[in-house]
């Protein structure tokens, strides 16, 4: 085909093209063949026939296309098939993740489940709930936010409004470094300081400190972005009226960006709500309600899931509770995300974008 196009003859524009339904037909054929081969060979795993079908799809569309349309078109088709296969490869397990969590989670998820603890329920028996875990998660995450938000927002203000020179550069650099700290390492740091050196016991607050190490850099970054969006004309207008800088920041800059900052904080909260590793090291877990985050182990949703799984002894009741808690946790995070995006959208048009 490549040489044909060099000649100015009319037919050169008319490549042999496969019909539009070609890809769907090959896909359907591949799935059928994959199923056929699997059942003929007695393979029972759906992963296998899926993989067979995927390989068949790519190979068949290349082969047929190369024959009919030429190799350039065939390569193009192969790339398209590979992209589709990549998409399906990822979507199937991820859809399964969501589906299984919802399907298995709704079994025991009801008002009773949300309002009772595991106090008198044996691990393998049905019953009980996640009240104590919700309470613990809210307290731990709340405390973490209480530490992180002032530090994070003030640091961002420093970087955007005051920051010049070496100190600002160093802070920026180390905030970057902090974003990459694995959560378990943050847990180990508080462990070494709080537990091993200061000899304090496990508590919700110890967990909150570790969580805030994870949260601070996220808050700094998102707040920084929001502050940078505030137009300089606003700052200058206020300064030109003789308003001191600190009042300008408090009364003009922060109110303008408060929506974005709130969004960032909520996303950061959503991010740390599911953190398990530091909580495992520092807060432990309990089956009872502990309202005091400063003393003794406390439950939390992630640790509740872990505990139900670890102590289930294969019991269906414990697995059901684990799934229900997982669904609650995901729902909580999703709601935070949605509300955060809602706030972002609601507040966004102010800057005229």
């Amino acid at each position: 085909m490549s040489h044909a196009t060099l000649l100015p003859k009319p037919s050169s524009l008319r490549g042999a093209t496969l019909p539009k339904w070609f890809s769907s037909a090959v896909a359907a054929g591949s799935v059928a063949l994959g199923l056929g081969i699997s059942s003929a060979a007695g393979l029972h795993s759906d992963i296998q026939w899926g993989l067979i079908a995927a390989v068949l799809f790519v190979v068949l569309s290349y082969g047929i296309s190369a024959k009919v349309e030429g190799s350039r078109q065939a390569k193009d088709r192969t790339a398209t098939s590979l992209v589709w296969v990549a998409f399906l490869l990822a979507v199937v397990p991820l859809a399964s993740l969501i589906w299984e969590t919802v399907e298995r989670g709704v079994k025991v998820l009801d008002v009773y489940f949300l309002t009772h603890s595991m106090g008198v329920v044996a691990d393998t028996e049905p019953g009980g709930g996640i009240y104590h875990a919700i309470l613990g998660t809210l307290e731990q995450v709340g405390l973490a936010a209480l530490i992180s938000v002032p530090v994070g927002v003030l640091t961002a203000i420093y970087l955007v409004e005051y920051g010049r020179g070496r100190l600002a550069k160093a802070v920026t650099f180390f905030v970057d470094v902090m974003t990459g700290i694995p959560s378990i390492v943050a847990g180990l740091f508080i462990l070494s300081l709080w537990v091993l050196i200061l000899k304090m016991g496990p508590s919700g607050f110890a967990g909150s400190m570790a969580l805030s190490i994870l949260m601070i850099p996220i808050v700094v970054r998102s707040t920084e972005e929001m502050l940078k969006l505030v137009p300089n004309e606003l700052r200058e207008a206020s300064l030109a009226l003789g308003v001191p800088k600190w009042r300008t920041i408090l009364k003009v800059v922060l109110p303008t960006s408060v929506g974005g900052i709130t969004t960032g904080v909520m996303l950061a909260v959503a991010r740390i709500t599911g953190e398990t590793a530091p909580v495992l090291l520092l807060v432990w877990v309990t089956n009872y309600i502990n309202t005091n985050p400063f003393k003794d182990p406390q439950a939390s949703l992630p640790m509740y899931i872990y505990l139900q799984y670890m102590n289930s002894a294969g019991s269906g009741a414990a697995y059901d509770r684990a799934w229900a808690a997982a669904l609650t946790l995901i729902a909580f995070i999703m709601i935070l995300n949605l509300v955060a995006q809602g706030i972002a959208r609601w507040k966004a048009p102010k800057t005229g974008r």
């Binding site: 399964s96 993740l97 409004e161 378990i184 300008t248 920041i249 991010r271 899931i305 995901i330 995070i333």
Partner: protein, 335 residues
């Protein structure tokens, strides 16, 4: 979220015109309110620095206690018995398990993520692309403990068929030999990690692919390039460094992932040739699994291993940011 990770290397300067106003204000910062406010915000910045220094210092301090008492070679020993007499522990097994599971995750996740990112930006109809992008965003928010639960209760039982298949055709290599135990092995862990880092790599790659200037794509199109050739000639070269740094961010996450690995892997403190048989361990998983029974000495040993993990993730993330920074300069020069 991903946008912020891309912009993290931007210098913290407010856009140009602010500078004179700032100076004016800074010189006039004699008012008590100004001084207090500046002090507070600068103090927070310094707090962050102190915090990082403290993390490094306390981890090093506790780790040095453990390593000082260690009778075995910390880097090569296959033992993990820090509470024994004499205490012996080493990270060789953990290095192996962490590297192997992360490599498997990367091998799977990077091409698939690039594929999905291309699907969203260049192949899917616009509505579908937007919808998928949204779903990927949400999946990035699913906590690792849920991935772990799904991994051990759903994924592991489904892997059996694939494992017997691999054993049948590739078992002779040793790497894919399988004795028929539960599929709670490094391979399954790698696959699960791939799923977990897929959203972040996809998100960043998608942003990069979306930024490819239209005129570069049209240049290729106007030469009579097919869609794939357009991607190969203009999209991939432009996005390459972005994809690399996205992958590094994903790798950083895979290296430090704790709970999902701890739930799925059936650990043992040795290195086996087979990826399919249970066994092995990773840094983070080992800390989570061994912590319960650890004495103070045991905890210090775990902190020592955590130090190593910390350094490794620092290097990986640093490399990722370097690449992003370089890409910025590059694209700036061409703008």
């Amino acid at each position: 979220m991903d946008i912020t990770t891309q912009q993290t290397t931007a210098p913290p300067t407010a856009p140009g015109p602010a500078a004179p106003a700032d100076k004016r204000a800074a010189r006039g910062a004699t008012r008590p309110g100004d001084r207090i406010f500046l002090g507070l915000s600068r103090g927070s910045g310094i707090f962050v620095l102190v915090l990082m220094a403290a993390i490094a210092a306390f981890l090093t301090y506790r780790a040095s206690i453990a390593i000082g008492k260690n009778e075995a070679n910390f880097f090569t020993s296959f033992e993990w018995n820090p509470s024994g007499v004499p205490p012996e522990f080493g990270i060789a097994v953990l290095v192996f398990g962490t590297v192997v599971s992360s490599v498997i995750a990367m091998v799977i996740a990077v091409p698939v993520s690039v594929g999905i990112a291309l699907f969203i930006t260049h192949y899917a109809p616009r509505r579908l692309g937007g919808l998928i992008g949204y779903v990927v965003d949400l999946l990035a928010a699913v906590p690792s403990i849920v991935y772990g639960l799904w991994g051990v209760l759903v994924l592991v039982p489904h892997m059996g068929g694939l494992y017997s298949w691999l054993d049948e055709y590739l078992g002779w290599t040793g790497v894919f030999a399988w004795e028929g135990g539960p599929a709670r092995s490094l391979l399954t862990v790698g696959i699960l990690l791939a799923l977990m880092i897929l959203p972040i790599i996809t998100n960043v790659s998608r942003e990069v692919f979306r930024q490819v200037p239209r005129m570069h794509e049209e240049a290729a199109l106007a030469l009579g390039a097919t869609r794939w050739e357009v991607i190969r000639m203009s999209v991939l070269p432009f996005g390459r460094s972005g994809v690399i740094s996205a992958s590094m961010l994903g790798l950083g996450r895979a290296l430090g992932e704790t709970m999902a690995v701890a739930m799925v892997l059936s650990p043992s403190f040795d290195i086996g040739a087979s990826l399919l048989d249970p066994g092995g361990g990773t840094f983070a998983q080992n800390i989570a699994s061994k912590f319960n029974e650890a004495t103070v000495m045991g905890q210090d040993a775990l902190i020592a291993s955590g130090m190593v993990l910390f350094v490794i993730t620092l290097l990986v993330n640093g490399a990722a940011r370097l690449i992003i920074a370089r890409r910025k300069e590059y694209s700036g020069a061409n703008a």
